[in-house]
Subunit: 315 residues, 2 copies
């Protein structure tokens, strides 16, 4: 069996990729996520699109190892989703339903965990077996790889790094209902909030004043040498570094990969994170390497493809 | 192969157990830990004691699956120890050396991780596949089981729960060199420190005044209804509950098992821990069960026996 398929279901689009089992992407494409009627069309749409692609490429069903699929929600080891914030699904047996629709083996997983698996297989974590990935986007997602396998957990909710508490004195609530979550400081929206608070604090001149404040503006200002932007990034680094140190105490990773839209600012952010990571890291974790993610939006389909390869080969 | 052996190496004694592969303890015994000369006698002493036991029981070498061995230090997946605080060892290839001494298969692991594995196999976590165990003794140790396997990590230092930061404002240093570690508040010594600080704070009457202050005295006073003791246990519960909530965000366990000397106080401590756990737990982890450990000092040998069974059967 030479091929496998990776699917990454998002709230607005579904990404799909056809891979060789060695990790070459032969083709990738997207379809719309139709969320109406509790998202009942999502899995049939995926099955129809895959059928079309398999016919177009003139592949035999028997040449395909199966389908890995990432879902933006907790997913149990059996591929069961209990609820989703963005797809309309309630309880859904993803493995079973998509298997029945396609006749192929299916393994579902959490999208952030699969992005981590993808970066381990083909990206920044290539060759590593113990890795944390943190995804800094609108929120903060996380995945952890231990001994080459993505953590799943009892409820499919392992490695939810964005909700580690890094500030026991916060009064504002996170989207999850708790206070002091890493996501409140290290997401794109969190960085913009840190920036607005710093700018309101005093009148120190800054290129940020009068501009639209977002994470990109803050890192652009840092690159220009703006002192206020540096203070903001220092704060971001402290929360993220401390949160990752606590995650590393549990996972003991060789490498921490930083992905998501915010990570496009690049390597300039790493020293600010690492400084505070080392402040709270256990001695055994002090050599942990930091890297920026490499696969961008393809991490999810890559990780999904790897998941089905491992599931079918019983790894 | 009907039998396996579990060994738990401590700083003063080495515990050993002969098990059936189904998990029945047929015999257990102890020998002294001879730490002189960089602990060079430790592995030969274990081999000699096992040889004697195997002859005494008239077992055949071929009936024995192998030896699992817990070490009070980080241990890599290959059974390599780089350093130990209590045994005198520097670099040591435990799997290889003990295999050469005994002719049996050997797998070494970290003692706290193996205690967790033991509680999962035969104790409080029986039947669970996702579990955290925290051991409240002189220090705070930890182990995590994910999908039935003990976490190891890149440096053999996974699940070092005692060194999660739970107080970013602490100024006193932990034994590990950092500040604000869970161990500073939830170990036996940590609880005694919280008690001394509370008693020095004001003059509120308490049965603890004038007594030798240790963790047992605090929990005994709580059982008598002492209000100051309750404040101390409340603080202990806050630090431990918050630390465990952060650990659970990474591991997503079905159950958290509390072991070690401090846990002998029993179920009375659980509501104090759970209250603060729920304050910082991610929504997916709110059903996590709390249990007191059941195997006491046997957890280590049980987990070691399970480790070698899994290693030999390639689980």
């Amino acid at each position: 069996m030479k091929y496998c398929i990776g699917v990454d279901v998002g709230g607005t689009s579904i990404k799909m990729g056809l891979f060789t089992v060695e990790g070459n992407i032969l083709d990738k494409w997207e379809i719309e996520t139709r969320r109406a009627n509790q998202g009942e069309a999502i899995l049939p749409d995926i099955a129809a699109s895959l059928k079309e692609k398999i016919e177009e490429k003139q592949l035999l069903q028997t040449e395909i190892k199966g389908i890995g699929i990432g879902i933006p929600a907790p997913v149990t080891g059996d591929g069961i989703v209990k609820n989703t914030a963005n797809l309309g699904w309630g309880y859904k047996e993803v493995n079973r339903e998509l298997r029945e629709l396609t006749g192929l083996e299916v393994q579902a997983g959490n999208d952030a965990n699969l992005a981590a698996l993808g970066e381990m297989w083909l990206g920044a974590g290539k060759g590593q077996k113990n890795m944390i990935m943190v995804t800094l986007g609108t929120g903060v997602g996380g995945g952890a790889i231990l001994d080459g396998r993505a953590l799943v957990g009892a409820n499919g909710a392992a490695a939810e790094i964005g909700h580690i508490c890094v500030n026991y004195h916060e009064t504002k609530k996170c989207g999850c209902g708790k206070t002091g979550c890493l996501e409140q400081y290290a997401s794109a929206t969190g960085i913009a909030r840190l920036a607005r608070m710093r700018l309101a604090w005093d009148e120190t001149p800054s290129v940020l004043r009068g501009k639209k404040i977002d994470a990109k503006a803050v890192f652009d200002a840092l690159k220009e040498g703006d002192a206020v932007a540096e203070e903001i990034v220092e704060q971001f680094g402290a929360y993220l570094g401390h949160g990752l140190a606590n995650a590393a105490i549990i996972v003991d990773p060789a490498v921490i990969v930083i992905g998501g839209g915010v990570s496009k600012a690049g390597d300039i952010m790493i020293p600010y994170i690492k400084k505070y990571f080392l402040e709270k890291a256990f001695f055994a974790n002090r050599e942990t390497e930091f890297m920026i993610a490499k696969l961008d939006n393809d991490a999810g389909i890559c990780g999904a493809a790897k998941l089905i390869i491992d599931a079918v080969t019983g790894k």
